[in-house]
């Protein structure tokens, strides 16, 4: 009997609890997004803000994007970097997870240490690899020199710079895939494995037909998460190559940053940001669909 007024007063109390957070979240995420979209329809430039804030040619920025070879190049650089580093992370993360998936105290300690790259401040990761790629302080370069194979720095070499960044990105983020796969492996029932072993399946067959199908959803989710985050890659590029040599490592995010904060073309940079936001939205929606699907099973 006493539960009834409790239920009624609860609803009101919950709305009071929820409102401040949603108001703040709205003020700091929805309003800026709206402002961003509005600005993306103007040629706003910070050098002359009053005369450039108009809507005479609302789609001008978007039309210009299609003809801007530097932008199109940045998209292709972004795709190369994202796809290569995410693929590497998935392969390495999966391999390490399979290696560490056993109930041994040592292995669980090793698992813990492997998390370090992932939690490090990205700027420190960038610093670590700046040191690795700078011949005068890098132990790798010194070693190669000592055996008579001096190599010039990878990050100043136009053919290698992007792969050097992709490698550093993989170093930082393979633990994410490792974690996701380990979590999936730990929830895997033993029975099918036993049955397969009794039926005489070899290790590869067991992996291919039993283990892999079981961890595939975890891999897909990990891949999607990392794909979205890879569009934000900034500190590594800023510190290692600054987009160069030339525009070889200039990803879309970095190009938007240059347009806004070096050239002060706010309208144009906003249009780039809107496109990136749309991409993030689309992929998030995919993840929530996937997550929901996963729930129903």
């Amino acid at each position: 009997m006493t539960i009834l007024p409790w239920e009624a007063s609860r609803k009101r109390a919950f709305i009071i609890g929820l409102a401040p957070a949603l108001l703040v979240l709205g003020a700091i995420t929805l309003l800026p997004t709206l402002a961003l979209i509005v600005v993306s329809f103007t040629p706003l430039s910070l050098t002359d803000p009053i005369n450039t804030f108009h809507f005479n040619n609302p789609l001008g920025n978007y039309r210009q994007l299609w003809a801007d070879t530097r932008f199109l190049n940045s998209v292709s650089v972004q795709l190369k970097l994202s796809l290569s580093s995410v693929a590497l992370q998935l392969v390495v993360g999966l391999g390490v997870a399979l290696l560490l998936n056993a109930r041994q105290a040592i292995l669980s300690a090793v698992r813990a240490v492997f998390l370090i790259p992932m939690v490090l401040p990205p700027i420190v990761v960038a610093l670590i690899w700046k040191i690795m790629y700078t011949p005068e302080v890098s132990p790798l370069h010194r070693m190669l020199e000592n055996v008579g194979l001096p190599v010039e720095s990878l990050i100043t070499n136009p053919d290698m710079a992007l792969w050097a960044i992709s490698f550093a990105e993989t170093w930082q983020w393979f633990p994410f895939t490792m974690l996701m796969v380990l979590a999936a492996l730990q929830m895997m029932p033993d029975d099918p494995l036993e049955a397969a072993r009794i039926d005489g399946a070899n290790r590869w067959q067991i992996f291919k037909y039993i283990v892999f199908p079981y961890i595939r959803p975890a891999l897909v989710i990990a891949g999607l998460f990392r794909l979205i985050d890879s569009f934000k890659a900034f500190p590594l590029i800023y510190v290692l190559t600054n987009g160069g040599p030339g525009t070889v490592t200039e990803v879309t995010n970095f190009y938007g940053f240059i347009q806004a904060f070096n050239f002060s073309y706010w309208g144009y940079a906003s249009a780039i940001a809107v496109l990136m936001l749309a991409g993030a939205f689309l992929l998030s929606w995919l993840i929530s669909r996937w997550g929901g699907h996963h729930d129903d099973e």
């Binding site: 609890g17 929820l18 800026p32 105290a105 700027i123 670590i128 500190p235 806004a260 706010w266």
Partner: protein, 328 residues
């Protein structure tokens, strides 16, 4: 494995247990004593057995070193090598930066000179901004997460998607409007400005993560508190919140770490007064020449809190960083 485990267990009970029962006058009495001794041992064994079991697990692990463990350890060394190189570089004496030998007397000179430079101020800024942002996000986010968990709002799914998108959104999308708003309002290059910006991702994390913790607390406890005369929020404050304390602490740590690690917002929204430690590192790289030990020392200092937190609250951190990917 089972054998040696149970062996170490009984071995641990004996020293922790009670004095051996003295041979009593009657058999019954001695039996009684033995019984109570057993019981006492059972009660007291707690800690020592636990630690003994852990040691035993380690020993078993070391004893049964196989290819897998060797492979894992070698891999660990290879993967952690760049990280360890940074740390050793920060400890090198300035006159021996490019020394070949790994055997050197560690020196704290680089750290000392950092503390006397602007870096100290940036480090303090980082601490203030990260702590305040974590605190504010908890203040707003925790009640919201609780309300979302306990009440089936119709817009729940849409709010969840909104929060996910906020987490996924590229920072540049928020930076451009925030920069314009801050230039106009004078929040550019202030700690307060950064604290507000960090709410964009921290608030989403708090609302997302705390829901899983609240969902684990049975609602019956709150109803009991209500019958005892508590209102909704006082029941929450006195009953539910204390029960989620570990999750709350972990969420706070996670917010702190995410703010601490941020580079992009701080680079753009600060200039001189409110620079955070990551921006100070970049300034070293760009303006102070290539003082490698000093640069390495600043990197080591910046990662120190994060590495410490990782060791302390690892399992919670893992849960937070993979939130949305792994279902609890």
């Amino acid at each position: 494995m089972t054998m040696s485990n149970s062996g170490s267990q009984s071995a641990a009970i004996t020293p922790a247990g009670v004095d051996r029962p003295a041979a009593g006058p009657s058999a019954t009495r001695s039996l009684e004593q033995a019984d109570s001794a057993h019981l006492a041992a059972h009660v007291r064994k707690g800690r020592s057995t636990e630690s003994a079991r852990r040691t035993a697990a380690w020993l078993v692990g070391i004893a049964s070193i196989d290819g897998r463990v060797v492979g894992a350890l070698v891999l660990l060394l290879v993967v952690m090598f760049p990280f360890l190189w940074l740390v050793q570089l920060s400890l090198r004496p300035t006159n021996d930066i490019f020394g070949e030998s790994l055997l050197f007397v560690p020196s704290l000179d680089s750290f000392r000179s950092l503390l006397q430079s602007h870096f100290a101020g940036s480090f303090v800024n980082s601490l203030i901004v990260s702590t305040a942002s974590a605190g504010l996000s908890l203040l707003f986010g925790v009640p919201a997460a609780y309300a979302l968990t306990r009440c089936r709002f119709r817009a729940r799914g849409r709010i969840a998607l909104w929060i996910l998108v906020t987490r996924m959104a590229p920072p540049i999308a928020f930076t451009i409007p925030f920069y314009m708003a801050y230039r106009w309002s004078g929040l550019l290059d202030t700690n307060l400005g950064l604290i507000i910006v960090y709410l964009t991702f921290n608030l989403a994390i708090v609302i997302w993560l705390m829901q899983t913790y609240f969902a684990a607390i049975p609602q019956a406890l709150e109803e009991a508190a209500y019958i005892d005369g508590c209102g909704v929020w006082s029941a929450f404050w006195r009953v539910t919140l204390p029960l989620t304390a570990p999750g709350l602490a972990a969420t706070a740590v996670l917010c702190f770490v995410f703010s601490w690690n941020d580079f992009f917002y701080a680079l753009i929204l600060t200039r001189t007064n409110a620079t955070t430690a990551p921006v100070a590192i970049v300034n070293f790289l760009q303006y102070e020449g290539w003082e490698w030990p000093k640069i390495a020392a600043s990197g080591t200092l910046v990662m120190l809190p994060v590495v410490i937190f990782t060791i302390l609250v690892r399992s919670y951190l893992v849960r937070g960083m993979t939130a949305g990917g792994i279902k609890d």
